[in-house]
Symmetry: C2
Subunit: 364 residues, 2 copies
């Protein structure tokens, strides 16, 4: 059988199955594609139809179903770059969870692509409409100023990852306050008393959550909150955007800032531990401290944030907070599917916080 003959071969249709099973097209369609009860059909007919479908390798025509208004079993996924360390595993798990309920994922990552025009976001939103996606996952970074309201207008069935400032929207996010508390508690248990916090900024809600967790956990252990122990990158020119420019696949990490963190927290404020902004900060802090003769973890313990697999490969390996991407993806898929089948979620079910986990390695 040549390739040409394959591609020319007519697809097997409901009519073929019905004829072979000796039933009506209606019944065959009802049994194979109806989804609901098969009450109308005798058990024998159902058997016959299923067998005929299998024999003929029947698969219902996707385009015809769509045209008649059936759902697409496709979710659109908006992400700035699929390879982004903060997103790649979320992407993987979202698709894996979607597959479990019979759905597929259409990706759209375009920030990595300089050739894509400015209005990529709107174009994707329209293309998603055109393709009849059942819903959308929006996992673009919160600081990108795309029009999320317009997205919601076109796709009421949207679930966000991380709070993107859209009131009442369905949203799954990491419990950052809990994350900071986990880190601090662990350090206290290891006997640290002067625990520093190194943050990129303290002017955004998500970052403030971590600061609050840091404060609360210190207080829970009767430790003072010393503002000298809190480093805020913002006055030093650190904006809230990522230092990893995925567009150019280039890391522009402010390594000199890490020395400032060490000056401020370790040298001046005598920190014996640092809760770092993320694993990349942690890795650089460790690297710079080694150069300066400060031993990790003996003199200063370091905790990261994210649990990127690079944590296994630094020296020492980094103790960190795992963001539970799999759990987040599971929650997102479950919420979206419920929205698709049952309509909008009740308001009190729209915000889901994911519990992070402490992963202990060598840096503490």
């Amino acid at each position: 059988m040549t390739k040409a003959s394959i591609s020319k071969k007519k697809a097997v249709t409901l009519k073929d199955v019905a004829e072979r099973a000796g039933v009506s097209r209606w019944l065959a369609g009802h049994v194979l594609n109806g989804g609901k009860s098969t009450a109308h059909a005798s058990l024998e007919s159902v058997e016959q139809i299923r067998k005929a479908a299998k024999d003929l390798n029947y698969h219902s025509n996707y385009a015809a179903g769509l045209l008649r208004g059936k759902r697409s079993h496709t979710f659109g996924l908006l992400v700035s770059s699929a390879g982004d360390p903060l997103r790649s595993f979320l992407v993987q798990y979202l698709d894996a969870k979607a597959v479990q309920i019979g759905c597929h994922t259409l990706i759209s990552n375009t920030f990595s692509n300089p050739a894509v025009p400015q209005n990529w976001f709107e174009d994707y939103v329209e293309e998603f409409v055109r393709r009849g996606v059942d819903g959308v996952f929006c996992a673009i970074h919160p600081h990108y100023e795309e029009d999320r309201a317009a997205l919601l207008e076109r796709h009421p069935n949207t679930v966000f990852y991380e709070d993107q400032g859209v009131p009442d929207a369905a949203c799954v996010s990491v419990d950052r306050e809990a994350a900071a508390r986990l880190a601090v508690r662990h350090l206290v248990e290891r006997g640290r008393r002067r625990i520093g916090l190194a943050m990129m900024t303290l002017s955004l809600p998500a970052h403030l959550d971590r600061f609050r967790g840091y404060e609360l956990e210190l207080q829970a252990h009767g430790l003072p909150v010393d503002e000298q122990l809190v480093f805020n990158g913002e006055p030093h020119g650190l904006a809230a955007y990522p230092y990893c420019d995925m567009k150019a696949n280039k890391w522009e990490f402010p390594i000199e800032l890490m020395d400032m963190v060490i000056d401020t927290l370790v040298c001046d404020a005598q920190a014996d531990a640092i809760v770092a902004y993320d694993d990349f900060w942690a890795a650089s802090l460790i690297k710079r401290m080694r150069v300066r003769g400060i031993k990790v973890p003996q003199q200063v313990a370091v905790v990261g944030y994210l649990n990127h697999y690079l944590c296994d490969w630094t020296d020492p390996a980094i103790t960190t907070i795992d963001l539970s991407h799999e759990a987040a993806a599971g929650a997102m898929v479950q919420m979206l599917e419920q929205m698709v089948t049952d309509g909008p979620l009740p308001k009190d079910q729209r915000k889901v916080k994911i519990k992070p986990k402490l992963i202990v390695r060598e840096s503490t």
Copy 2:
């Protein structure tokens, strides 16, 4: 306007546009969706139609087009896990390049998902048929024994990443021989004379390519090929599968083997440089050598393979070979698109080798 009214609002159709533009449905369809020449229409009509379409926010109905046999502008992407460090950037770039030619990417990564049944591969292949993808990118790891012949049978338009043992199939792969030569040449230029090679196995073609490159480049510099300087992990129980089990998101890295590499190459054979199997080997080798008091790069230089971003975060940062994922993705998209539009590629255009690049950091 309530959400309900939006979802109920009838989609704008070609008929609406034609009426508004005062032309026939045929002409409107021809101008807006025909793609080919607009020779049949007067310039004025074309203007009118375009304007009407824009005013009404017309987008051609995807399902109807598919049903009538138009191409889907969708590529299927088979990958074991989208978050895999060896694949995540390829995934990102494939989508980015596809978008540039107006196509979208349907991902399918399921190895990460224990709940997916054994026959996931065949299911995806059928689902891709059902959804009418224009073609398929197959970037699953070569050692997974899925039925690639069956894939090709259903989807003649398939481009593989890395040689997967399918004769005559279109395939883009890294020039591994060139990669090894780049590493060796760089080390020779840095004055190294006893350059070790640490390989996972030497029984697979792809790995042998690197060994050949190593040999050739040594010979090109008049250096002897000393078999003591070649470490082969295979006799030590290292199979050719990845040590990163994405299914469980768990790394089972044979760290004790890294000590064996150091014993064999550095202690016994007096290597002053190691060309490592990949960046993860390089990172571990560096880590273990530090423990043993061997200075990198002063005593032993190390070169990785892949240019994963973790190379920036180890100490010292790793000199490595970049696999040019963006170029590979570009070639794959270009080949697939040509197959879609012009039919099968001539046999001599089916194998594309991507040139890797040397990235110098601190470990050499």
